[in-house]
Every structure is written in structure tokens, then in C-alpha cells.
Amino acid sequence: MNLPGKGIATGMVQTAKNFLGSYVSKERMVTVQYPEERDKAHEAARSFPFLVFDQDPEAGLRCVACKICEKECPPQCIYIVMQRDENGKPTKQPETFDIDVSVCMSCQICVEVCPFEAIKMDTEYEHSEFDRFDGLLRGKDRLAKSNDYYHSIHPTEAAEVDERLDKERKAKEAADKAKAAKLAALANKAANAEKIAKDAAAAKGKGE
């Protein structure tokens, strides 16, 4: 037979344990005093996307304005205009690259679909603005951040990306070299053939 009030008394003991424990046990002190103290962000943390550039924030943007992210973005918050030179040929640079962070839902799909490792997720989370329209519409000048910054927030991921890009670049250089060599060989061959034909013609002329 249970004593009346036994359950409540057991519960009170638990509350007392937690209350006293919150002064001594590290495990029970779980909150931080936010603006002064901050928890360290996880490496995988994500807030809003930014654009990676290599050296120059304008010309060094990895983005080639292929518009894949614009197409795949679930809430359609990316707006891209391709830059064209005077002949109308695309220069493989974005003229405009806007992200409306008031619409963005931080889903990271733009990062996953980008074949050029050009767009990555930031970890910064304090985005208050006085101007609620233009302040939250980020152009490419505000979105562009250096590769070093990317390394500082996601070190493991950035190292992998750099390795992959390096590999691709080397493969491309090798392919270019092979292609150039092939072209040179072809040109050589053509020149040879021409020379032979010329010689033959000359010989023919002499014979007459």
C-alpha cells in the first residue's frame, strides 16, 4: 500500500536534486549568457550561402553564372544575370548575383548542386538589418567571401574541396597539354605533307 503523497514527495526530491545540482554540477549548467558568452559553432553549422572567390573578389569568383542553383533553389531566392562581353558572348561571370536572405531557408541545396564549388554556407547568424528590403537582399559584393574565410569556418570540408579542385585543375592541365601536343603533331604532319607536295611539285617542275 502506497503512502498518500509518496509520489509527490519523490518528485520533490528530484526537483531538489536538480536545484542544488545546478549550483555544483557542470552537467546541469547548460545555459550560456548569450551576447557575452557564445557556444562554439559546429563545423557543419549553416546559416546563409556566400560566394567563394580565390584572389580577386570581383574577377576571382568561382561562380560561372550557370544558373543551376537558381533553378534548383526551393524557395527561389537566387537571382542571376550572366555577364556578356560586347559581342554578346558569355564571359563566365555573373553580372548580378542576388540572394534574398529573407526568403532563403538555409537548406543547402544550392551548395550541393553547384558543380564549381562556388557557393558555400556561412555560419554567421546575426543578420539584423535596419533596412528590411535592401538590407536583406544581398548582392554579389556582400556575398563574395575569400577562400581563406571558407577555410576558417569549415576547415575539413574546405581542405577536401581544395584537394578536389587541385586534382581537377591538374587533370585539365594535363589534358590541355596532351591536346596541344596532339594539335602540334597534327600541324607538323600537315606541314610535312605540304612540304612533300611542294618538293614533289618542284621536282616535277625541274623534270620538265
Binding site: R46, Q108, E112
Partner: protein, 403 residues
């Protein structure tokens, strides 16, 4: 008294069809034995901004004194057009929207959707991905049930303390989710054919630590509440859901099992790799609020068992199938229904594909909505304060009810 201006005549609004807009009941004054009027029934619209309704949800209740005579649930305040949006975007782009259905359990929503698309496109997830999914689903169950019992006792008037303890533990699991997927609640982690990224270094040992300590928290929580006389008095015999009604109303999840029906999709369907784990399905006897509370507590203990086995056995290997496509994903023509045992019940996604990059039809079977349909049957005859607890024990999230 008639209104001086007939607004409807000026605005030219068409006449409403007969019966619409009218309540489907009539409120008649209560009469004593001699036929004299004894008192009126009172109509109360609880919500949509009532704190105990767990979101924007309205209950139109008719009260006789304090007892509920009629109850009409009204929802749709949080309708976000999820299904229609999904028919306009690619298969992948619906994945982050599924996070926002039941925003407490984004991982299980992801899994159900990924399962449906995998059936449709015939992609098999890799071995490691299957294990990761089980771990994520069971952690999500812990998150959901800790939240629920915190909110439930809050509805009973235990303001603050138990909910804070519950949230303290939940935070540890959300921390694991953030370390893995980058976001605490909107994880967007599963992909068709696997998962988005591999577990970061040290994640498994961190998860093991959390899982090992969770049992102690449950003991503490049960010592705090389960034997509490006030909790028992408020919950035992309240809101009884008979098993036949539960089955006929297609109620699923812990609600159904609290009524004593042994139906758990993890055992019935054996989706994923659930046939490899040793766990039991807790059942209730009475189907009252107390049983629903206890079933969830026991389910958490079973989840811990599964988690321990999964974290021990997880193999090395790729996390996403080489056949999986991220860009330009197109499903072949056909239809598929993928369902899982979510923390709230059977969560299913039904997809029809016509071979285009977008689904032709996209339909969600939300457990919260369907479990809510028996609310009136459970509440009749109980007092208005009990109706609040009964609603809490159904475990709804309005993001999923309204979609």
C-alpha cells in the same frame, strides 16, 4: 433587431449554399424536469491563439457547465500549400519542405519522403546509410517524446520544471543533429539513395555518450512524474479511446498502441533494416491519457535499445549509393507509397510520376491530422480542463495537420 445596412446586398456576395457556415449542431437551453429553463449551454471557441492548443488550432466546444457536450476541431490556419508547391519543384527541392511538416521530427519526415522516391526510382540506399537512418529516426523519436511529455504535464499545470528538464535533454540530441547536418531542427539530411554527408569524426562516440546518459534522465523523469498522485488523478480514465474505434478511425502510432492494438510499422513493414534489431513494442491496457503517456516513456526505452545496437554495429562504407543523382533527377513513370513509423504514427508519402523532373501528384498522409479526428469521441463527457490534456496526449504538430 435588423442591421441598418445590408452589407451582403451591397457587396453582391452570392448566397451561401444551404447548410454551409452553420454549425452542425443546435444549442438548446437545458431544461429541468418540469420543462422550465435551467441554464444555457455555452459555446466557446478555444483558439486559434490558445496556448494549450499546441499551435494555431481551434476547438469549438459546447459546454454544459464545465463538461464538453460537443467539440468541433477547426484547422487550416497554418496551411502552407505544401503538396501543391511540391508538384511545381524538383524532387530534391521538396526535401527541405518536408522538414517543415512536423518541425519537431525533420529526420523522420526526410526518411519517409526519401523512401517513397527510392521506391519510385528503384534506388537502394547503402548499408551505412541505412544504419545512419535508423539512428536518426530513433533519436528523433526521443526528441519528439521528450517534448511531448514535457508539454503534456505543462497542460496539466506543471508549469516550467518538467518541461525545462525535457528540453535540457532534447538539446543534447539537437546538438548531435547540428553537428551532423548543420541545423538543429531543419536537418534536410536524407537523400534519395542515402544521406547527404558522412558522420563527422567523433560523432559516434558523442552519440553513444548521449544515449548512455539518456536512461538516467528517463529514470529521473519517471521518479519526478510517473508515480505522482496528481498526474494519475488527472490522467487515469480520462479520454479513453476504445481499440475498435481507434482501428476504424485509422489512428496510428503510440495512440493506437496505448489502446492495446499491436501495430508498429517497424515490425509490420520492416522497412529499412528494422528486422535486424531486437526491440519490443509497448502496449497500453486502457487507452486513456495515462497509457498514452506511459507508452511513450516505454517507447523511448526501446528506442535506446535500438540505438545502442545500431551504434555498435554501424559498418564503414559510402553513405550514398553510386546510382543516386543529385542534379537532373527524374523518376520513371509510375506511382509509389512510402511509409514509416514516425514518432506520431504512420507517416506516408504518395507520389505519382509522369517522367518529368517534378512529381505529377504528391500527397502526404500526416499522422497528426488523422489522429486528431477522434478528438471529439475522446473528449465528450469530460471537463474542459481534461479536453486540453486529451488534446495534448494526441500529440499534434500543426505544421503537419495543415501542411
Amino acid at each position: 433587431m435588423t442591421p441598418s445596412i445590408d452589407a451582403e446586398a451591397i457587396l453582391g456576395r452570392p448566397e451561401a449554399p444551404e447548410g454551409s457556415g452553420e454549425p452542425n449542431y443546435t444549442v438548446e437551453p437545458k431544461r429541468g424536469d418540469d420543462g422550465s429553463v435551467d441554464g444555457d449551454l455555452l459555446e466557446v471557441a478555444m483558439g486559434p491563439h490558445h496556448p494549450s492548443t499546441h499551435g494555431v488550432f481551434r476547438m469549438d466546444v459546447v459546454l454544459d457547465g464545465e463538461d464538453v457536450v460537443k467539440l468541433k476541431p477547426v484547422f487550416g490556419y497554418l496551411h502552407r500549400n505544401h503538396e501543391k508547391i511540391a508538384e511545381g519543384v524538383s524532387y530534391l527541392a521538396s526535401m527541405p519542405y518536408t522538414d517543415r511538416l512536423d518541425y519537431l521530427c525533420s529526420m523522420t519526415n526526410n526518411w519517409a519522403y526519401a523512401l517513397a522516391v527510392e521506391k519510385l526510382a528503384d534506388v537502394e540506399p547503402t548499408e551505412r546509410a541505412e544504419y545512419i537512418r535508423v539512428i536518426m529516426a530513433e533519436l528523433t523519436r526521443l526528441v519528439n517524446h521528450t517534448c511531448l511529455i514535457g508539454f503534456l504535464v505543462q497542460d496539466m499545470g506543471a508549469l516550467g520544471t518538467p518541461l525545462m528538464y525535457a528540453f535540457r535533454e532534447r538539446e543534447k540530441i539537437l546538438d548531435l543533429f547540428e553537428g551532423l547536418s548543420g541545423s538543429r531542427m531543419m536537418c534536410n539530411y536524407m537523400r534519395f539513395g542515402g544521406c547527404r554527408g558522412d558522420l563527422p569524426a567523433g560523432w559516434i562516440s558523442a552519440a553513444k555518450q548521449v544515449v548512455d546518459r539518456f536512461g538516467a534522465f528517463l529514470d529521473e523523469y519517471e521518479a519526478l512524474l510517473s508515480g505522482n498522485e496528481i498526474l494519475m488523478a488527472r490522467t487515469q480514465g480520462i479520454g479513453v479511446l476504445p481499440p475498435d474505434l481507434a482501428v476504424n478511425a485509422s489512428v496510428t502510432g503510440p495512440m493506437l498502441r496505448a489502446s492495446g492494438v499491436n501495430y508498429d510499422l517497424r515490425k509490420v513493414d520492416k522497412y529499412g533494416i528494422y528486422d535486424r534489431f531486437d526491440f519490443r513494442v509497448p502496449l497500453g491496457d486502457h487507452g486513456d491519457v495515462f497509457d498514452r503517456y506511459m507508452v511513450r516513456v516505454l517507447e523511448m526505452r526501446e528506442s535506446l535499445k535500438i540505438l545502442k545496437q545500431a551504434l555498435r554495429d554501424i559498418p564503414e562504407g559510402p553513405v550514398i549509393s553510386p546510382k543516386a543523382k543529385i542534379r537532373n533527377f527524374k523518376a520513371p513513370k509510375g506511382e509509389a507509397y512510402g511509409r514509416i513509423e514516425g514518432p506520431k504514427g504512420e507517416l506516408g508519402f504518395y507520389l505519382i510520376s509522369d517522367g518529368k523532373p517534378q512529381p505529377y501528384r504528391y500527397r502526404v498522409r500526416p499522422p497528426s491530422l488523422i489522429n486528431l479526428t477522434v478528438l471529439e469521441d475522446m473528449c465528450l463527457g469530460h471537463s474542459i480542463a481534461d479536453a486540453v490534456i486529451i488534446l495534448g496526449s494526441v500529440d499534434i504538430v500543426l505544421g503537419e495537420v495543415d501542411r
